[in-house]
Structure formats: C-alpha cells, structure tokens
Amino acid sequence: MHDRFWQQALAIARRDLDRERRSGEVAWVTIPFGASALLLVPLAVGINQDVLGRIGTGMLFVVVMLFGVLTAVRRTNLETPAQRDAITLLGVDPVAEFAGKTIASSVLLLLFEVVMGVVALTLYGLDLSNWGWMGVVMPLTAVGLAELGTISAAIAISIDAGPALVPLLVTPLAIPLLLGATQTVELGPDGGNLSWLLLMTAVVLVLAIVGVVTARPLQEIR
C-alpha cells in the first residue's frame, strides 16, 4: 500500500517534470520573466547600491512568490479534462496525486529560486553573510508555494474566472512564507531567525495537512 502510494506519486511527478522538459516553460518563459522583474526594480526605485542591498532579499522572494506560484498553478491547469478523468478512473489515490504534483512543482520552484538568487546576487550586490540559510529557506519556500499552488489550482479548476481568481487566492496566503523567508535570511541566528524558520515550517506542515485532508473532495469536483 505504502509502496503503491509512492509509486503513484512519483509517476505523477515524473509526468509533470517530463512535460516541463519537453515544453521548457519554466526554463524559457518563467525564469526570463522573473529575471526581468528583478531588473525592473532598480529602474523603479533607483540604482543606489545601499538601497538595493537592503531590499534585495525581499525583492527576490516577492518575485519568487508572484512568479513561482504561477508555475505550480500551471502544472495542474495543463491537464485536460480527459486526462483528469483518466486519473480518477484509474483509481489513483488523490493524496498521491497531490503529493506527486507538489513534488514536481517543488523541484521546478527550487530551480527557479536558485536562478533568481544568482540574478539577485549579481544585480543587487547582496550581503552574503547569512546566505547559508538559503539552503534551508529555499527548499521550504519551494515546498510551501508548491503545496499552495497545487491546492489553489485544484480549487479554481474548470471555473471561467479561474485564471483571474488564483492569484487572489494564493498571494495573501503566501505572505507568511514570504515574511519567513526574508526574515530568516536577513536576521541570521543572532537576530533570532529561528522563530521565523519555525513559522515557515509550521505553514508548510499546515498546508501539507490541508492538502492531504482535502485531496479527495478536490478530486471529486473536477
């Protein structure tokens, strides 16, 4: 049973990653779009290096939140109604489906975050003293946004107003992740960043629980 669950989850994750490998949507569309957003910020707020150094980490995670979550939503929206019916009729465990989609989105979001991190470092001249924490913060942000994107996309699936609705549903709910990520890196251990890391971990866990509990009703509505 346990093996079967992971088999299904990994099969769905592999399918989504294969689809990305073929289409290159994240690599060739989302990443350049995110990089251009990071490039636009200095043009809007001025090119003062002190200012850019101060806001850089925050801007990095704002871009990750706004663009990254679209990646997670897109994974679910790529499925046609016939494909969704096939998955349901094949008896795929809804929780395994949620886990598979979340795993695939997490991998893509992590890739997106790493590239955006390099771009932010280059453009904003960020202070690297606490960047070791990115090793923890980036995976947590990726998993949290992936969970949120997968759940929100499933809620808004097949609704005419869905594409307009999803950003409204996701963005406010992603605020704790954005705050946690920025504060953990900016404060460092001396500034008491562990409580922020704890907040992020708690949010990721709560989202995982919500995703697991609501997987079945969300599979029923499509």
Binding site: I151, I155, A156, I159, L165, L169, P172, V206, I221
Partner: protein
C-alpha cells in the same frame, strides 16, 4: 403577531444590547492622553474580535461540510465569511481613524495592520470564489477547502503584535495582565457582548437568505423550460396523395 415576535427576538435583543453598549461607551471615563478618541476602543476591539469569530465559524463549518456533505454547513460558512469581511473592514477603518488621532497617520506599515488587510484579501478571495460558481455542490466543496486554508492567515494576524512589537499595542485581552480601569473594562466587555449578539442576528438572517437563494436555484434547475428545436415539427409524408 406572537410568531413574528418569536422570529424577531434575537433582533430585538441585538438592538437593546447595542443601545446599552453605546450608553456605557459614552458614559465611560475619558482617557487622559487620548481623550474621546479612545472611545474607538469600544468599536475597534469588538469588530476585530468578531472578524476572528466569523472566520473561525467559517473554518469549523467548512470542516463540518466536508465531513457531513450537508449544504447547510456551507451556507453557514459563506454567511459567516460575508459578515466577517464587513467586520474586518469596519475594524480597519475604525483603526485608521483611531490611528490618525493617536499616531497622526491613517496608515502605517505596522505588522498587525498589514496582516489584517491581508486577511481581508483572503476572505474577499473566498467570497469571489463563491460568486464564480453557480452549482451549490461544487461551490460548497471548493469553498470548504479555501475556508480551511484561510486559517493559515489568522495565526500570524493574531500573534503579529507579539512577534514584531511594532506600533500597534499588544493584545487587549490578557487575562493575567489587565491594564484597564474597571469602568472602561466593563464598557468594553458589554460592547464585545453586544456586537457578538449582533453577529448572531446577522448570521441568522444571512443564513435564512442563503437558504432561500438555494431553494430558488433548485427550483430554477427543476423547471423544465423550452428546449431548442421544440417548435420544429416532423413533416407529414404522403398527405398530398
């Protein structure tokens, strides 16, 4: 007449309670450093309290719907969220007016203010989702998931004043550390109770209205209207001989 009174008893109690709260609020002593502006306390605290209560009820009713699949829980969740959005808006506007009197600004990037505005957006999204779906069952299932997700936001909102220690004062109700004069505390508690009764009355009315909307929807689906092509009749063959 008696049945009408029986139906309206909660409304009557709500009106009496609000009048009593108003009297106590106006009769409470002036606060030395804030003057009459401090009386905003009697609106601001109850409205934000009821925002929590409303969204908490939405959360519980959403879980109840997913367990029982009875539409009445969805109607309660939706009704409570609508009222919660109204109370949150009043709390924010009241807080801004109070902020202008005490901090000399309507808005500041304080953690509590910002996260309360974000909470309002979460539930505006919830209401937008409900409006976007006509089918009651589909709407109920999708909304229930979002009603549960919304709780993620309530936790940082409530603890924001402790975590950040910014301009906004810490939580007003701290049972072990009450720093408020007796008459002001009494007026505040009466105000909270009165607003809670108003919430109950509004929820009752909104639920009844939602129930009527549901019945109207079911009736409109049940009515068999004309179908395209009804007017076309089959040609008669061979009648001309």
């Amino acid at each position: 007449m008696t049945s009408r009174i029986r139906r309206r008893w909660l409304d009557v109690v709500a009106v009496v309670a609000i009048v009593a709260a108003l009297v106590f609020a106006l009769a409470s002593p002036r606060v030395a450093d804030q003057g009459d502006a401090a009386r905003m306390l009697f609106i601001h605290v109850p409205t934000i309290w009821l925002a929590y209560v409303s969204f908490g009820v939405t959360f519980v009713a959403s879980i109840a719907y997913l367990i029982t699949r009875k539409l009445r829980w969805d109607l309660i969740a939706g009704a409570s969220a609508e009222i919660g959005v109204v109370f949150t808006t009043v709390a924010i506007i009241g807080g801004m007016i109070w902020g202008k009197a005490t901090w000399n600004v309507y808005w500041t990037w304080d953690a509590r203010l910002t996260l309360t505005a974000v909470m309002l957006l979460v539930y505006l999204g919830y209401l937008a989702l409900r409006r976007a779906i006509a089918d009651p069952e589909a709407r109920a299932r999708r909304s229930a998931v979002l009603g549960i997700l919304g709780l993620v936001q309530l936790i940082p909102v409530h603890f924001s004043v402790t975590w950040w220690r910014t301009l906004h004062q810490t939580n007003t109700f701290r049972p072990r550390d009450i720093q408020m004069d007796g008459p002001i505390l009494a007026a505040l508690l009466i105000s909270v109770a009165a607003f809670t009764i108003v919430y109950a009355a509004l929820l009752r009315h909104r639920y009844a209205l939602a129930h009527l909307e549901l019945e109207a929807h079911e009736a409109s689906v049940a009515v068999e209207g004309p179908v395209a092509g009804d007017a076309v009749s089959a040609p008669t063959i061979g009648s001309g001989g």
